[in-house]
Subunit: 84 residues, 2 copies
Amino acid sequence: MSGIEILGYVAGTISTIVFLPQVIKTWKTKSAKDVSLLMFVFATTSVVLWLIYGLLIKNGSIIYTNSCILVLSLVMLYFKVKYK
Amino acid sequence: MSGIEILGYVAGTISTIVFLPQVIKTWKTKSAKDVSLLMFVFATTSVVLWLIYGLLIKNGSIIYTNSCILVLSLVMLYFKVKYK
């Protein structure tokens, strides 16, 4: 595996966990007043489209990455509605 | 342009503006207490790596998309430090 490929994998891996700190913070504080609902509506919409795109072109990386982001994004949407 | 390509472009376009609603909300409310600092540290790190990856493989879409996300991510990091 080349250095460029490794860089791509590292970037991809960090991308999948971008929302994780927000999920943990909101779960702990039970407060999401300052968090934008629309941010997670946009995030969920884009990852669902990426997921369909990945399935259509049969690209495992796109499918895997966006499945992970989708789970965290849906959890945050639920938290935002629950904790306001 | 095929339907699949259009889907990819739509998904990419929405991805670039995911952080925009959060930037606008925080700018209006001047409060970012519930927003995770680590979320935007992770986001900034991943888009910088994607940007370097895009520059190395000379992929215009990756460079353009991640440049847009980087601007919004840096603004949110600034807001988070400024407004707490």
